[in-house]
C-alpha cells in the first residue's frame, strides 16, 4: 500500500504529534510511508522522519500557513506518490487541509482514529466519537482513504535511519485569500501537543490570581489551559480554552484547579492518561472523572505542589 503522511511543523521541526502520525503510517502494512512537510524547517530535522519509519520527505517551503496552498501541496503529493492511504493527526490545521483534499478526490475521511486499521476484511478503523464518550468501528469504502489519528494514541520512539529529503514544488493558488497578520505566543508550550497540562477554572477567582498555577506549570514543564468561562471572561487567552467547544487535549497528566468538571469540560480532557483534580468542594463532579483528587483551596494546595515538583 502506498501511504502518505501529512505532517505539521513548529519551530523548524516536526511536531511530536506528527511523528506519531509517521509511526502510525509505518505500521499499517509495514511499508515505509512518504512524508509531506509544508512550512519552514531545516533539512536535518526533516530527515529525522526516517527514524520513525518514513522513507522520504517531500518538503515544500512556505512562509505562511495558508490552507488553500497547503491542501494543493497535499493533492499534488498524492498525485506524485499515488498514495492510497493518507494519514495526519487530528488538529484544526489538518482538518482544514485533509478535508479539502478528500473533498476534491471524493474520498472517505475518518477523524479521531485510535487504533491501526483492521484490513482482514475491507478497511476498518476505530475512532473516538461524542468527544471521547464512545467509539465506533467504521468501514471505509472509497479507494483513497484519509485518516486523522488522535494525539497520544501511538508511541513515537526513534529507531531506524534518516529519510531522504526532496524539495517539492507545485503551482500554489491562495484563491484570493491573503494573511495580513499572524499572532503567535512565542516561547510557550503548545497546549494540544503538551505532555502535561495545568488548567484553571472559575475557582481561580480572577486573572490576577493565576501566578500559583503558572508556577506549578513551570516547575512541571507543563502547558496551561482553562475552562470556557475563564476565556469568555478574558481572564486567559481564547486558545487556552479546553473542552467540547475548545481545545481537546490528550496529555499524560492533566491537573484541574478550581474547575467543577461540567460534562462539556470533561469532553475535552477525557483522553488524558492521568487526571488530577483540586477543588474545595468534595461534591465537584470532576472527582468522578479523576485518578487523584485533593479537596482543598487551590491557593493553599498549588504552592505545596510547586514546592514538591521543584524538589524532583
Amino acid at each position: 500500500m502506498s501511504i502518505l503522511i501529512f505532517t505539521e511543523l513548529a519551530d523548524g521541526k516536526f511536531k511530536k504529534s506528527s511523528l506519531e502520525a509517521i509511526s502510525y503510517g509505518s505500521k499499517i502494512d509495514g511499508s515505509a510511508p512518504v512524508v509531506l512537510a509544508v512550512g519552514t524547517a531545516d533539512e536535518t530535522s526533516l530527515a529525522e522522519a526516517g527514524q520513525y519509519g518514513a522513507s522520504k520527505v517531500l518538503f515544500s517551503s512556505q512562509e505562511q500557513e495558508n490552507i488553500m496552498v497547503y491542501s494543493q501541496a497535499l493533492l499534488k503529493a498524492i498525485e506524485t506518490t499515488g498514495a492510497k492511504v493518507i494519514v495526519s493527526v487530528k488538529s484544526a490545521l489538518a482538518d482544514a487541509v485533509m478535508a479539502r483534499a478528500a473533498g476534491t478526490l471524493k474520498a472517505a475521511l475518518i477523524g479521531n482514529v485510535t487504533e491501526l486499521p483492521d484490513t482482514t476484511n475491507g478497511f476498518v478503523v476505530k475512532n473516538s466519537i461524542f468527544s471521547g464518550k464512545a467509539f465506533a468501528k467504521t468501514e471505509m469504502k472509497s479507494e483513497v482513504k484519509f485518516l486523522q489519528i488522535k494525539k497520544n494514541v501511538v508511541e513515537a520512539s526513534p529507531e531506524g535511519g534518516n529519510a531522504t529529503v526532496e524539495n517539492f514544488n507545485f503551482a500554489a493558488d491562495a484563491m484570493g485569500s491573503s494573511i495580513i497578520e499572524t499572532q503567535k505566543a512565542s516561547g510557550q508550550l503548545s497546549l494540544p501537543e503538551a505532555d502535561i497540562v495545568v488548567s484553571g477554572g472559575r475557582g481561580m477567582k480572577g486573572p490576577e490570581h493565576w501566578q500559583p498555577l503558572l508556577d506549578l506549570a513551570q516547575a512541571l514543564g507543563a502547558a496551561t489551559g482553562c475552562s470556557k468561562p475563564v476565556s469568555d471572561l478574558d481572564w486567559r487567552p481564547h486558545h487556552e480554552h479546553v473542552g467540547q467547544t475548545g481545545v481537546k487535549v490528550a496529555p499524560n497528566l492533566y491537573i484541574a484547579c478550581g474547575i467543577s468538571g461540567a460534562i462539556q469540560h470533561l469532553a475535552g480532557v477525557n483522553a488524558s492518561k492521568v487526571i488530577v483534580v483540586i477543588n474545595k468542594d468534595p461534591e465537584a463532579p470532576f472527582f468522578k472523572a479523576a485518578d487523584y483528587g485533593i479537596v482543598g483551596d487551590v491557593f493553599e494546595v498549588l504552592p505545596k505542589l510547586t514546592e514538591a515538583a521543584k524538589a524532583l
Partner: protein
C-alpha cells in the same frame, strides 16, 4: 448578500450516550436534540450580518423529519427560509455532497457552519464543501466582517491567531467568540411558523459505514490525598502513575 448556514441536529452536550440493537445503533431514547453548539455561533453571526448589512439567510440541515424543531428554532432566531435534505447524515462526505449540490449556482456569498459537529467531531464538512464548489475555506473562524466583495476574518491557529483577508464567496467553519448565542424571542417563534421550509431529496451516497459502537471502560476510583499532604501527590505521580 446571500448567506447559507448549515446546521446539524445533535444530542444535547449533556446527553447520556448509549447504544442499542447489539451496539449497532445510537439510542435516541430520552435524548434531547439541539442545534450543534458551533453551528449556533455561525447562525448567530449570519443573523447579525443580516441586521447590519442586509442579507437573505437560508438554513440547511441534512436530516430526517425529527430535525424540524431545530430548523424552526433557527428560523425563529432570524433565518429567512430553510431547506432540509431528507436523509440521515451518515458521514462527512455525504453531508458535504448535499450542501455543495444545493448551494451550486445559487449565488451564496457566504456558506457558514460550525467548525465541527458535537457528535462525530469530524470538523471537515466545511473544507469538503469548499473543495467541491472550488471556493476558499477557513476554520476555525473567530471573527468575521464583510466589506463589499471581501471578508476580513480572524482564525485560530495553534497558540494564536491569523488575520486574513479573502475574496468571497467562501466557506467558513465558525467558533466563539464570532457572535453570542441567540435565544429566539416570542415574535421570532411566531414568525418562524410560516417561514418556508423546503424538503428536498438527497443525492449520492456515503463512503463509510459504521459497523458497531462501544463505550469506554469505566473509570477506576479516584485516590484522595489530604490537602495538608498535597506534596505527596507529586511523588505518587512520579512513582505510581509514572507520568512525571
Amino acid at each position: 448578500m446571500k448567506i447559507l448556514v448549515c446546521i446539524s441536529n445533535v444530542p444535547d452536550t449533556t446527553a447520556r450516550i448509549a447504544f442499542e440493537d447489539n451496539n449497532t445503533k445510537f439510542s435516541k431514547n430520552g435524548v434531547q436534540y439541539i442545534i450543534g453548539a458551533y453551528d449556533d455561533y455561525a447562525l448567530a453571526r449570519a443573523v447579525e450580518l443580516k441586521e447590519t448589512h442586509g442579507a437573505q439567510v437560508t438554513v440547511l440541515n441534512v436530516g430526517l423529519a425529527d430535525s424540524e424543531p431545530q430548523i424552526r428554532k433557527a428560523l425563529a432566531i432570524g433565518a429567512d427560509d430553510a431547506v432540509r435534505v431528507d436523509a440521515e447524515p451518515t458521514d462527512s462526505y455525504f453531508v458535504a455532497t448535499q450542501i455543495a449540490a444545493y448551494a451550486e449556482g445559487k449565488g451564496f456569498d457566504l456558506i457558514l457552519m460550525g467548525r465541527e459537529t458535537t457528535d462525530y467531531n469530524s470538523g471537515v464538512v466545511h473544507g469538503m464543501v469548499a473543495a467541491m464548489l472550488g471556493l476558499p475555506s477557513f476554520s476555525p473562524v473567530m471573527e468575521l466582517t464583510v466589506e463589499g466583495s471581501k471578508a476580513i476574518i480572524s482564525k485560530e491557529i495553534e497558540g494564536g491567531k491569523q488575520k486574513i483577508e479573502t475574496a468571497i464567496p467562501a466557506v467558513m467553519g465558525c467558533q466563539e467568540p464570532i457572535a453570542e448565542w441567540k435565544i429566539p424571542n416570542m415574535r421570532g417563534i411566531m414568525a418562524a411558523r410560516t417561514k418556508p421550509l423546503q424538503v428536498i431529496p438527497a443525492v449520492g451516497s456515503a463512503l463509510t459505514g459504521i459497523i458497531n459502537y462501544e463505550l469506554p471502560p469505566a473509570k477506576g476510583a479516584c485516590k484522595m490525598i489530604p490537602a495538608e499532604e498535597a506534596g505527596t501527590l507529586i511523588k505518587l505521580l512520579q512513582i505510581e502513575a509514572k507520568v512525571l
